[in-house]
């Protein structure tokens, strides 16, 4: 048998190589004891993230004008779509590292493995965004998930962290089973695992083959778990509540965006012929996800858990844009994921600051009167919450505007109405926090320890505030970037 060795364009995976190298470097560095402690581990990994972001941003190996470059036997692509998503992941990872530095010291988990796993998870997410073959997408997904299972349980001595990891692990690998079975059936029906090959095969023959439909449904279930769409969301609140707060922030931004990146690419690029079937299913998922996420969030007192339900609801809004599947829909998903990364990690940064050592202050009552003690912190939290609600002039408002208009333009007025009603419901629980911060006097009976702000945390908050305002007030640059990203599909 003749074996062909494909030409390898290493330049197309420079950002991934950098991230992986730094992940290994951080792991090795911590072995050597130094006089300056272990603080530099976080900053070293941050340097890796920034380097990878610069190369991704410059286009690295992508062609002139964002033309897609295929490499590794057409299993890997660098196009504007994957680059946009990679920048979102790197931004999420960078912010997570900044908000982790003090937290890991407080909890005694300031080890190289922590940052190393974060970087490996990032590499996995980047593989998911750039893979054009189900093998690559699957490997990326698992690299991300396995790193996250460990990170969720990273505070070994804390029982809820253990519980969070166990639940995430069991349900995550259960979902992987469904995803894989879906891939296996798609492979059986079409004889290939490449996305282009699958769509080419389906458009020529065997449109309604039951194996194909089964495969698509199983894939939908698998991705549904990863993006935490109702009814596959059961793991989300527990995992998010139990995991260390910086990891919760990370999980709600990067990995969710990565799951959406792969979800979109697989369904729009490989299965456009079955659109008639999956659009209806996603319609129902979107409506359920938004409504159930928002309604259950109403009764939460634990802010972290409330943000977990809110993150479910936000996945629902993104699914609304998914339903319209056209250029505007995809562009609004890209825009929304970027905005969501800023506002959600920002909100979690404040949760970490207020939570203090051991994450003991994460209930609503710990926020009462915050505005009297720390007006700037309260103002930042207020901004993030307004953005999550979708009130101008914030990034969240523009994101929702684009999503709803994409849905209406494609004729899904009913779904857009449900989404708007859900935004109204969500005002209640976001406002609960704002009211507690501004309208209630600080309880004098409770002893408040002073909040600690480190430079890294301030930089992260500053970046998040800047991002939320900038994307809300001058959205056109970002939306045109997002629209160009769709062109290259």
């Amino acid at each position: 048998m003749e074996i062909l060795i494909p030409t390898i364009k290493l330049a197309t995976i420079y950002p991934e190589i950098i991230i992986t190298t730094f992940a290994i470097l951080v792991l090795l560095l911590q072995v050597f004891p130094t006089v300056i402690g272990k603080d530099y581990l976080g900053y070293t990994s941050l340097a890796g993230v920034i380097l990878a972001a610069i190369i991704t941003g410059q286009g690295g190996a992508s062609g002139e004008g964002g033309e897609a470059i295929y490499s590794f036997s057409n299993m890997w692509v660098v196009d504007n779509y994957s680059r946009f998503f990679k920048l979102i992941f790197l931004l999420g990872t960078g912010l997570t590292i900044l908000i982790s530095i003090k937290y890991t010291k407080d909890e005694g988990i300031n080890n190289g493995e922590y940052y190393s796993l974060l970087l490996f998870a990032t590499a996995g997410m980047m593989l998911m965004a750039g893979g054009t073959d189900l093998i690559v997408i699957f490997l990326g997904l698992e690299l991300m998930s396995i790193s996250l299972y460990v990170l969720a349980g990273y505070v070994r001595k804390r029982l809820i962290s253990n519980e969070s990891a166990l639940k995430y692990f069991l349900l995550g690998s259960f979902a992987t089973g469904f995803l894989l079975y879906g891939i296996a059936l798609l492979y059986g029906a079409t004889g290939t695992t490449s996305l282009k090959g699958i769509s080419g095969f389906i458009s020529e023959a065997s449109f309604g083959s039951p194996i194909l439909i089964m495969g698509m449904l199983l894939l939908l279930i698998g991705f549904g778990f990863k993006i935490a769409a109702v009814p596959f969301h059961m793991w989300t609140p527990d995992v998010y509540e139990g995991a260390p707060s910086p990891i919760t922030a990370f999980m709600s931004a990067g990995p969710k965006a990565a799951a959406f990146a792969a979800f979109l690419r697989v369904f729009i690029e490989a299965l456009p012929s079955l659109q008639g079937i999956w659009v209806d299913i996603i319609w129902v998922l979107a409506a359920l996800t938004m409504t159930i996420g928002n309604v259950i969030a109403l009764v939460q007192d634990n802010v972290k858990r409330m943000l977990a339900y809110s993150s479910i609801a936000h996945a629902g809004y993104v699914l609304v844009a998914f339903v319209s599947t056209d250029k505007l829909g995809v562009a609004s998903i890209l825009y929304y994921m970027l905005a969501y990364t800023f506002m959600n990690i920002g909100a979690f940064a404040i949760v970490i600051i207020i939570g203090g050592k051991g994450e003991e202050k994460i209930n609503l009552k710990d926020y009462t009167g915050l505005a009297y003690r720390y007006p700037l912190t309260a103002a930042a939290m207020c901004l993030f919450l307004l953005s999550l609600t979708g009130i101008p002039p914030t990034a969240g408002f523009m994101g929702k505007l684009y999503i709803f208009s994409a849905a209406i333009k494609s004729g899904y007025v009913g779904l857009a109405t449900i989404a708007v009603l859900n935004s109204v419901i969500s005002v209640y629980y976001y406002m609960k926090i704002i009211l507690a911060m501004y309208m209630k006097e600080p309880e004098s009976s409770v002893q408040h320890s002073p909040l600690v702000f480190t430079p890294a945390m301030i930089i992260a908050l500053g970046l998040a505030v800047y991002g939320v305002l900038r994307m809300g007030i001058f959205p056109s640059a970002y939306i045109s970037m997002a629209q160009q990203s769709y062109l290259s599909f």
Binding site: G153, F174, T192, P237, D238
Partner: protein, 100 residues
């Protein structure tokens, strides 16, 4: 030769046994074994299709799945052990600190 359908039915049955097991068993280790059963059912599907389509992609995918399953086992057992150290149980019904 055994026809393709027999393999597919066998793997579908194995997958279903695994999936039902995940919902009905209460021991975290047994749940994990059920998940492994599901993954192996998928491997069987891949190999059967690969053989009948005369295409090596399925074989390669199976190797990937086995590798990933091994990595998952390492992480998963570590998580179960750290749970056991803190709580001295692996019964998922008793692991319920978070509610609501």
């Amino acid at each position: 030769m055994v026809p393709l359908n027999h393999y597919l039915i066998l793997s579908a049955v194995l997958f279903s046994i695994g999936a039902v097991g995940v919902f009905t068993r209460r021991n975290a280790l047994i749940i994990y074994m059920c998940i492994e059963l599901m993954l192996n059912a998928v491997n069987l599907t891949f190999i059967a299709f690969s053989k009948f389509l005369n295409n090596m992609d399925g074989h390669i995918f199976t190797f990937m799945v086995m590798t990933v399953a091994a990595a998952e086992a390492a992480v998963g057992l570590a998580i179960i052990i750290s749970m056991f150290r803190n709580k001295e149980t692996v019964n998922v019904d008793e692991i319920n600190l978070m509610k609501g």
